[in-house]
Amino acid sequence: MQLVTAVHRSVGSIAPVIELPANDDSHSANTVAELRQWLTERLAARALELPLLPDVVAQVIALSTSGESDARELAEVIRRDGPMSAHILRLANSPLFRPRTPIVSLQQALSRLGMTQIRQIAFAVSCKQRVFRARGFEPEVRASFRHSFATGLAAQELARARRWNVEEAFLAGLLHDVGRPVLLQAIVDMHGANRSLNRSAVLAVVAELHAQVGGMLAQKWSLPARVGEAIAFHHAPHAAKVSTQLSILISFADDLPACDEEHRPEAAAALLKHPLLPHLNLYPDEVAAIVARGKDFAETLQAVA
């Protein structure tokens, strides 16, 4: 039984990001303080609508955990989702998996990557398509997704080094910033497509509230409580109650230079002074081994993001 099984159980009808009706007083919410107040009130009243888990993810999870499905059946489900098929093929050919010969079919890719990877990719790609989007903020959302996926990759390597659960770390890393696009979309919807937005104010408020919203989304998607907490507390990991270690790991992965693709030696050196490093008890050689994989992560990102 896999970690994400609980997710599929909670899935009912599927919908893309739910459009919020424009708020009557929205035209006035365009400063940091106004946006914060508007969003805080909606969050407190649980009036901020959150997207449902994408359909294809639910199906992939159901098939990959049923114990009775085979690769052909899974390939069929994925084949129906064109962008996802393309992503999976690109990823299977990426340096992370180093195929000896090019992988040309979905079934071959499934065999190469395995169920766990396929579930992760399905989650990542679907989130990208259905959740990581906000009109007018495409560059920011694209960057956010790339960063999230890289954080997931880094988190799973950190977890492997610490002998912690690898799958859980990837999921928490992938979704740690999921609150950002959700908030951006909510603000865009609030203002309507044609109204001008104070971009810096929007991004500041999103930065402030995204972890809280991510935690709420994790709850709505019935993700494991530990994952939800790591998402909600990735900027204040010591405040986490049930999964402090995972929260610290995600917080650290969030700061890995590899996540930004720019593998700068000075950034790697700075990482050795990271305040969370002693909590993870990673020695310089262990950090260096993970940072050294940054190139692989970056090339994998090219395939997925």
Partner: protein, 478 residues
């Protein structure tokens, strides 16, 4: 680098061996520094080994006991997606309590603890490289190496801690797998195989030998295998693992030399452990490791360099927490010129926390027979009132006496409470008490301890007719 004044005793590692060495030295009034590379004290025993697996075992035992003892009153089944974290919900509390106990004990004895990795620069000088405090120098009069071990990672087993685990990562699984292959037949393999089988996982245990636990009494091991099979486990004997590979879909395929393929959801590789010695720069201290990757020591745990001692897993079998503790204590005493008793020499019990539990002490039946003969007495737990009440029918106690049936040479036990029961025999052996002591003693009724009386009566019945030796006539050794 910061210099430091000379420490009288430096202990590297805070596991069972290191703790007891440091505490012994501190109790002798010495200034002691303990160096630990993890953030908490306790070593793998507390954080990855003994304590976590035994806590999970306790849950499995409770589950098993409900099924065995519940009569028809309760029906107990584990949900299909049960979380290991849920089964081990007490673990954090147990680990925290044990760690606090150790930390308090270390503090109470005035032992200083540095967090970092130690490496020798010369026989009396070490460097401690810390994550947050840079490098510090340590000068030491005596050094005790107790750095423990980690799982061996054979080349043909691609351990990824996701589908193929080792004993350090197996409990990071969040959900119970439907099936598990356990590679190996040692203590760790046996414990985990039986724990997971009891929890309802389809376990296949694969070993190159005829039986697991090669050092143990064959009758006891056969009893274990019988119980393991009843729990749904399968033991594949005389098997060479040719390859292990994730099939890329949902299973790990373990291919054996016979050509058989064992398909399981997860694999646990428990093919031995290796000593944690790299990084210590032992050559700078004038030490060489042997062909098995261990530190050679003499009977007092002293290495070839006079002031350097080594205890626990770094010196090899039996690699048990209890023996490491005693080795640490004895090493410190010898190093400090304190008296060392040989009372317990060769009489350390072995406890295997499988389901059912196994314990042994001294010689087993075949060893005793090979050394000049033995009379063996047995007591089946199903013949004891407590065994019936507690539904512990599969238990067995064997007392191995000398050829005349007078003195105890060894004790072998399988069944619930085995690791406690063995200590009765240990005291009898240490006190050199005759077998008849067990016959003349009054044991509480109903108890499993009565098994000693039953087994002793079995020996009495088997040996040539001779008068019972009164305990008052027996000279107590030591």
């Amino acid at each position: 680098m910061t210099a430091n004044r000379v420490w009288e005793v430096v202990v590297i590692g805070s596991g069972p061996g290191g703790q007891k060495a440091a505490i012994q030295a501190a109790k002798a009034g010495r200034r002691v520094l303990m160096i630990e590379q993890e953030t908490q004290v306790g070593g793998a025993c507390v954080h990855r080994g003994t304590i976590p697996s035994k806590t999970l075992r306790e849950t499995a035992m409770t589950f098993s006991a409900f099924r065995r003892k519940g009569g028809q009153v309760l029906e107990v089944n584990l949900p299909e997606d049960v979380q290991i974290a849920g089964l081990n919900s007490r673990l954090d509390g147990v680990v925290a309590a044990h760690e606090k106990f150790i930390a308090d004990q270390i503090k109470r004895n005035g032992i200083e603890v540095w967090h970092g990795r130690a490496r020798f620069k010369s026989p009396h000088t070490l460097e401690v490289v810390s994550i947050s405090r840079g490098t510090r120098r340590v000068d030491a009069k005596i050094v005790i190496i107790a750095t423990g071990s980690r799982p061996r990672n054979p080349e043909l087993v691609p351990i990824d801690h996701e589908h193929i685990f080792d004993s350090d990562s197996i409990l990071s699984m969040r959900y119970l797998p439907r099936s598990l292959a356990v590679l190996g037949g040692g203590v760790i393999a046996t414990e985990y195989a039986s724990i997971f089988a009891t929890l309802g996982v389809r376990v296949t245990m694969i070993d190159k030998r005829e039986r697991p636990l090669a050092f143990a009494d064959t009758e006891i091991v056969d009893r274990f295998l019988q119980t393991f099979a009843e729990a749904g486990g399968r033991f594949v004997a005389r098997a060479q693992v040719r390859s292990v590979a994730f099939d890329g879909v949902s299973a790990v395929v373990t291919t054996l030399g016979s050509g058989e393929e064992v398909w399981t959801e997860k694999v646990l590789c428990a093919l031995g452990r290796v000593a944690n010695l790299e990084g210590l720069c032992l050559e700078a201290a004038g030490l060489k490791i042997d062909a098995k990757g261990l530190v050679p020591v003499d009977a007092h745990y002293r290495t070839t360099t006079q002031h350097l001692y080594a205890v626990g897993d770094v010196i090899g079998p039996p690699s048990l927490a209890a023996t490491a503790m005693e080795q640490g204590r004895l090493a410190a005493r010898h190093a400090l010129g304190l008296g060392v008793s040989d009372l317990g020499a060769g009489r350390s019990p072995v406890g295997i926390y499988a389901i059912p539990e196994i314990a042994s002490l001294g010689m087993n039946e075949s060893e005793a027979r090979a050394l000049g003969g033995a009379i063996v007495g047995r007591s089946e737990f199903r013949e004891l009132a407590r065994g019936q009440i507690g539904a512990i029918e599969n238990g067995l106690l064997k007392l191995v006496a000398d050829a005349s049936g007078t003195y105890l040479l060894g004790v072998q036990v399988i069944g619930e409470g085995a690791s406690e029961l063995v200590h009765i025999g240990q005291m009898a052996m240490l006190g050199h008490l005759p077998i008849d002591t067990f016959v003349e003693c009054t044991f509480n009724f109903p108890t499993l301890a009565e098994a000693y009386r039953v087994a002793a009566l079995d020996i009495v019945g088997r040996r040539a007719a001779q008068p019972i030796i009164r305990t008052s006539q027996v000279r107590i050794a030591g």
